[in-house]
Amino acid sequence: MATRARRPLLHYSKAAALPRSAPTFPPLRLAGALGLIFVFAGVLLLVLDLLRSPSPAPVPGAAEYLVLAEFGPSADTVYRVDPARPSRRSRLLRVPHAPEYGMIASASPDGRAFAYTVLPPETPAPAPDTPAELWTASMDGTAPRRLGVAFDLRVRPLWSPDGSSLVVRRSGSAIDPPAGTEGPYELVQVRVPDGAASVLARSEVALFPAGFSPDGRTFYYAAVSRAGSDLYGVDTVALTGAPVARLSDDLTRDWALSPDGSRLAFLTLTPDGPRSRSQVQVLELATGALAAVGEAGDEFGPAWTPSGGLTLGALRGGAGAVLLDGEVLGSRPRGFDVPLSWSRSGARVAARSFDGPSATSPGLASLVVIGRDGQRRTIAQGEVTFIGWTYR
């Protein structure tokens, strides 16, 4: 019932690009004249675009596009965006949702589809723990399909490496927990073709999907409770699980498994003299060795390059930098970046960019792309969520 002024879709007013001294035409040729004006404006835009600061070098092979969702009070809109020309957007899908509760989405590894959890628009008095629906859609925006219901809205669907299944979480009232407990929680593997579901893990403590081994045989998840954070692995064929490692005595988050499945990077808060800092740590799965990555300041958004390099955002002394294997990929005197995901080619990384001085006062957010040469390009501002990469 509550109405909000919808933020207008970002679009480029081509008429505004015309010089003020544009010639006029006799009324009888008005239609043709307008057509010529638009053609001229389009050419002018192309020239201006090419004269801008250089975009990341083109990579041979398939073109890479970002897929993002723009939040709306009652519906999110999914777009495909050319990172070299962010003004060029293709609208893929409009996803209606319960008021003020947007979708939580992720792209398939091959970039051909995306999955999302969403509260239906008719949900009465929606809440974060209201059971959500799981949907999947192709990257051309056609054929969204509902795969199931009664899943946790806020746990992002995790794709298997071959894109044939998703792991989502189910909990609370959707499971009928034993008396006196807040759980249990289940991590459920849902087959994309038919929505068939099987439980991979079940626990009294909160579970979060972390990743799959490259062959899809082992699924990793984090168990977070008042006792700390632990990593577990499940054989997806035998459906047997076992603990892998202790991650922390405290909360951890933003888990990212390396492409070869050998390392897990994640965030934790650690004391650092007179303050606490957000720190990236890396776990070697084979040995259980745990090591911090940086030395000082705050760190965010561990993300792996396709070749296994570790990227993270750093904030030190008020200045931000994106680091790749410890080397500065890009820096900025004010604000900071949170890397999200590298494209398949490894040419560019999508990141969430903040203009504030700290994690507790992050300021306004935008979505950017950073190339290997450190060049940044703003893709979208405001409340947009990066879903993933797609390729054409």
Binding site: R7, T130, A359, T360, P362
Partner: protein, 461 residues
Amino acid sequence: MAGRIARRVLSLLSGQRRLALAAAAFLLAVMAAVAPARPARAECIFPTAPTTYEDLKDRSLFLTTIELAAANMLFPGDPYFGIPNLEFGPRTSRSTQPGRVPPTLMKAISWIESSITQAAVDVPFGSIGPALVSFDCGHGIAQVTSGMTVALGEGGRASPEQALVATHFAYNIARGAAILADKWNQAPELRPVAGTDTNGLPELLENWYFAVWSYNGFTGPGANRSNHPMDPVYGTWPRPQYSCGPSGDGKGHNRANYPYQELVFGCIANPPIVDGRPLWQGIPVSLPDLSNPAWREPLKLANFVFPYASMDIPTPQPFHLDPTPLPDPRLRERVLGSPQLRVSRPEVKLGVAPGSGSTVETITIENAGTGVLAWYAMATEPWIVLRPYAGAAVGPNLPCAPQAPCDRNGKLEVTVDASRAPPGRRTAAIRIQALGTGQSFIVTVEVSQVIRLGVPGITRH
């Protein structure tokens, strides 16, 4: 009748069209059979949501009511709807002061809970319709859930207090404010204290951090509805400030990404805009600085252990007071009005066929006065069925929007449960109360046995 119509339709169709219609019907049937079922909503205390009044879009009546409730000027001293005295002071030496809740805090909570609406989503502004009831039995503006999941009245019915929460916006808001005050007072025995350096004074908005957290459930890391600020369920870290304002203000709006207290504090600072006007003056409330050990250490996992004594925090800085002035006491009369109960008939006569069904009679309940009359009906015999047994009758002074549904009268349907009614002629009574006013009316019910019930449409098993 349906069969004759179907045959008529089919006779008009050609063979190909009949085949297409049959295929479509088969396909629909298959889709219905294989489509995953929606989860059932939790059972709440009313079989169907009772009617209530919805304010106009500007919410001016509801906002005034919130200010009155926050100042404890609606029902002071009432054990259910009044605000108790609030505790303050250090953990080991507490004092009390007259209970008041910062009004802007209550407005923000009400917006987050229901967009400050009392009725269901599909009930237009300025109209009358079913009350808003959520998946977890939260009712109305303040989404009162405490005490609304189990019927506390006689015979498994909602109690009069529960009926007031569902049917009358003022009682709903007052109950919400009372619950928030109770959450405040849970410190220090059951909750941590916010404001260890400012005597825990309730005048400071920031000191309500844990009470607001508790209003939505004082749940911690990993819980299904965790409101811990560092819980990994809240997307990537960090996150921008939440805003109830327009989508284009550059701040966060997806509620899935924030713990409850950050939604409320963000909404206080960035109020909703309705028809181009903010619903209140924004106040830049501060959140705990999680990079500072003074706040980070109390909030670490190891301390989230009942009764949370190690979670006490100093007041987040800088702190703020609510500048909203106390409302004019005369506004109470405007908000509550002066309802006058008027019932359409003093008696009803019902016929019952034992083991079969009963006739149905309807009683109209009118508010001949002003404001919202929350009516509540009870029968003297368990075999008298009242449907519904509570609702709202709205006085003419409360505006309805043009062309909005605005049946101001309540409709009480009376039947007999034929399987429970004793044989023979019987007499019973229905007492209809105007809750909160002391008014009531008795309707006499005469029940007689019949051999066969009458015209289809008014019989019921």
